[in-house]
């Protein structure tokens, strides 16, 4: 068991939490709460304790508490984290500062507006555009484990937005497609069943697409699922450059980009 057995609730810890209540017409501020310290608690447990026992007005999103639904991303001591996976013991006995994810508009307290991200998924066409039409009655598209391995890493994105709030480019240019949307575009481009790379190229290779990325690499650093969006962007740049050269050399022999194999 993670928690030591002799532990009681006598030890406490302080959380300094960002508050913004638009209804009150007040400017954003910080509120400090004291919570019991337990070494198997995560930051989310502490927030739930505050909500249940101290201050019912504190607002934040959460759901699965096991690192897969992607709801509970926040800045914890300045770093984007899933609060369900950030243990108090890694900060104790120091105070923890909890803020909404960087670079997103704040709706209230720790809740950000991420509607734009879903619009970006639509622009990138994050769905399978079959390379070859096949009816369901004809069975599955064959895909070897090696073909699956080519794109599998990029399917692991939980849309938690940590990569966006680590990305200085997104911070300056909110229209930048951003790490997760580009990685998901690449996820389909690299899927052996997909033939939609050309349709995605306009958006992925646009001014708001991959070329905005200055390869800071922070996105991959903070990704809780090791998706490596920075790698996806680099790979897309190489593909785009190759295609551009191919386009120069043989303008009419335009080949499928991305998933060429």
């Amino acid at each position: 068991m993670a928690a030591s057995e002799s532990q009681t609730a006598t030890e406490t810890m302080k959380l300094e939490v960002f508050r913004f209540l638009p209804d009150e017409g007040e400017l954003p501020n910080f509120q400090t709460y004291e919570v019991p310290y337990r070494d198997d608690w995560v930051v989310l447990d502490a927030l739930n304790y505050i909500k249940d026992e101290i201050d019912g007005t504190l607002s934040y999103r959460w759901s699965c508490r096991m690192g897969v639904c992607g709801s509970c991303g926040m800045m914890v001591n300045g770093e984007p984290k899933l609060t369900c996976s950030a243990f108090l013991r890694d900060y104790y006995p120091n105070q923890i500062k909890v803020e909404p994810l960087n670079y997103f508009p704040v709706i209230r307290d720790l809740i950000i507006n991420m509607d734009q991200f879903i619009d970006k998924l639509g622009e990138v066409k994050t769905w399978l555009i079959p390379a070859e039409e096949k009816s369901v009655d004809e069975g599955e598209y064959l895909q070897t484990p090696a073909q699956l391995a080519k794109y599998k890493q990029y399917t692991m994105c939980i849309n938690c937005m940590l990569c966006y709030s680590a990305c200085p480019v997104f911070g300056q240019h909110p229209d930048f497609l951003g790490p997760a949307a580009i990685a998901l575009g690449q996820r389909y481009n690299l899927d052996s069943r997909d033939g939609g790379a050309d349709e995605r190229a306009d958006v992925l290779f646009s001014n708001e697409g991959i070329w905005e990325c200055t390869f800071v690499g922070e996105c991959s650093e903070v990704c809780p699922k090791n998706v490596d969006p920075a790698g996806a962007i680099q790979m897309a740049k190489v593909t785009a450059t190759n295609d551009w050269f191919k386009g120069l050399l043989m303008p009419k022999g335009k080949k499928k980009s991305g998933g060429d194999q």
Partner: protein
């Protein structure tokens, strides 16, 4: 897009719930008739839905050595004969096509070397038929469905809207009233056909694999509107959750060969009529439909009996046993169970490649739900339901692992087709009337929850007491006395609920308001669960009565139907459909 009438949003089909079943339904409508408009209301962004947490896989016959009859028999015997056999046959028949369809939509199913879809063994299944995407199957299914759904222009999403009431006019469900979280406004959203896909209600219990959002909202909405909740006494304990958090360790870990050990290191399941313990290095291991691959109800009950014998270990979060995966080896664990390894490392600080995983039974799934027929229709015209919130029933008294992910596809699609047919014949929405109802609903909510000084009760105190009442009264083993106590406690809690005082009276993203509405759902669902369990004086599947230890087909080979009244719910019964499999013994390994 929604109606141009700014006071009443409306669509041809309205779906409440954005998880697997809801998204499958939305896509089905997009595919079948792009001229129809669809609204999808979800209290969270759809990709956050609890489908995301499903790990092990989705069942459908695909191997030539398998057959529909095998899948039917496994499901029906697993259900302790309470499943409707016509529903099971339909489900089994449509299952492979649904999973193939998902493959065509990009789901990254794990593969065999030849590129065909791979399957793994699962509890209670005689033959391997569980499709999987490593051990994040629900996650991949949900994201594939969500990303596929984005492309349909006729689908409008109402992300972060919470439905509070079914709007019924002329005897038909014509939409819902819903709070827009961002603004706190209650709006009417009309639909000629309305589909509930809101998931289960594991949060009535304290210790559950279920996400915070699993509060039975859709079940409660239907129940309040006079629709029966069916077979609610059947609540599944999954045998392997992490103590404390309740995080799920998938059954696939046993499908891949993991074994359960008591405090003496013995494979104790061998003592509970689940077959013999074949050595883990024997090539026959794991033997399907035996031991660790028995059904979930039997394994959870074995844990409880083993606990009573003093053979479990004691920890800070109660008793537990060990799940041993060490013999599976690092390579296979990384390939097939990487999420299990990650969860164990993050949440209990152990590495299952080298260490034993502490596990105990944990509330996982509601077999019961909104009473529907094979077409996913409820008794309320215009209202359909699918997925965990519904009860068709294919799961009867105990669901087999990996049937539920498939169920939400099969019946999500069926609900969509039924709703479309209904909408064709009922093409009007009384917008004026439902708008007036929504206005009243807004007034009711604000009067009930936004009036300072009304009471002293807090959400947390009622929720904690509710959780305790259910755990103590309606757990793995139940008695007349424990259930009567739970019924009484739920009733008291419903009284206390009337004097909840909220700290938060603001309109912008008031999560405390949502929490109190969810608590209302939990109380209604708990009422149906405890009363249905009290009335079922037999033991069947997940419903075990210490005071009525035997299955009683004569009296109780029946579905229970709980109807809400002003007092205790009225419990009625309906027949179980038996087609080709007369009730028999459930045999797992022995005999």
């Amino acid at each position: 897009m929604g109606s141009s009438d700014s006071t009443c949003l409306s669509h041809d089909i309205l779906i409440v719930g954005g998880g697997g079943a809801g998204l499958r339904a939305a896509i089905a409508i997009g595919e079948e008739n792009p001229d129809l408009t669809v609204g999808v209301i979800s209290k969270i962004y759809p990709m956050r839905s609890h489908t995301v947490s499903a790990e092990g896989g989705a069942a459908a016959v695909i191997q030539s050595s398998d057959s529909h009859d095998h899948h039917c028999y496994d499901t029906i015997s697993g259900a302790d004969w309470l499943a409707d056999q016509d529903a099971v046959e339909t489900f089994v028949e449509e299952a492979p096509r649904e999973l193939l369809q998902l493959e065509h939509w990009g789901c990254p199913w794990s593969r065999n070397p030849d590129g065909t879809v791979a399957v793994r063994p699962f509890g209670g299944m005689k033959i391997e038929r569980t499709w999987y995407a490593s051990d994040k199957t629900g996650f991949h299914m949900l994201h594939s469905l969500f990303q596929t759904a984005i492309q349909y222009d006729n689908v409008t999403r109402y992300d972060e809207w919470f439905a509070t009431k079914l709007l019924i006019e002329d005897g038909r469900c014509q939409g819902v009233a819903a709070v827009e979280l961002g603004t706190g406004q209650v709006r009417a959203i009309g639909g000629k056909g309305v589909i509930m896909t809101t998931g289960g209600a594991g949060r009535i219990f304290p210790f559950t694999t279920n996400a915070a959002v699993k509060t039975g909202d859709g079940m409660a909405l239907a129940y309040r509107a006079g629709v029966a909740l069916k077979d609610m006494e059947f609540v599944q304990y999954h045998p392997t959750g992490l103590p404390g958090t309740g995080i799920l360790i998938t059954e696939a870990s046993r499908g891949e060969g993991g074994v359960l050990l008591n405090k003496n290191g013995e494979r104790y399941l061998a003592n509970y009529d689940l077959g013999e313990a074949v050595d883990v290095n024997d090539e026959r291991h794991p033997v399907k439909r035996t031991m660790e691959l028995g059904p979930r109800d039997r394994l959870s009950q074995a844990f409880e009996l083993e606990r009573q014998k003093g053979n479990t270990l004691q920890g800070e979060y109660g008793d537990y046993v060990h799940l041993d995966l060490r013999h599976i080896g690092e390579k296979k664990i990384n390939k097939k169970l990487p999420f299990v390894r990650e969860l164990c490392q993050n949440y209990v600080g152990i590495d299952p490649v080298h260490e034993l995983i502490p596990v105990r039974p944990v509330i996982h799934y509601m077999m019961g739900g909104i009473d529907t027929d094979l077409q996913a229709a409820t008794s309320l015209p215009g209202l359909f339901a699918a997925g965990e919130c519904a009860c068709v029933s294919i799961n009867g008294a105990n669901r087999l692992g990996s049937n539920s992910l498939t169920e939400l596809l099969v019946f999500g699609a069926r609900a969509a087709r039924s709703a479309v047919r209904f909408a064709e014949q009922n093409s009007t929405i009384n917008k004026q009337a439902i708008t007036a109802q929504a206005t009243q609903e807004q007034t009711r909510i604000r009067e009930q929850f936004f009036q300072p000084g009304k009471g002293t009760e807090t959400i947390a105190s009622i929720r904690v007491d509710l959780n305790r009442a259910l755990e103590q009264g309606a757990g793995i083993y139940r008695t007349e006395e424990s259930l009567q106590t739970a019924c009484d406690q739920v009733r008291e809690l419903k009284e206390r609920y009337k004097s909840v005082e909220l700290a938060d009276h603001s309109l912008t993203f008031n999560t405390e308001l949502i929490a109190v509405l969810e608590l209302g759902s939990l109380l209604d669902v708990a009422e149906a669960v405890t009363h249905s369990a009290l009335q079922r004086r037999e033991s069947r599947g997940s419903h075990q009565r210490s005071d009525h230890a035997e299955r009683d087909d004569e009296q109780f080979l029946k579905h229970s139907l709980a109807y809400q009244t002003d007092g205790n719910p009225r419990i009625e019964y309906s027949d179980v459909s038996i087609t080709r499999w007369p009730p028999g013994d459930r045999v797992y390994g022995s005999k």
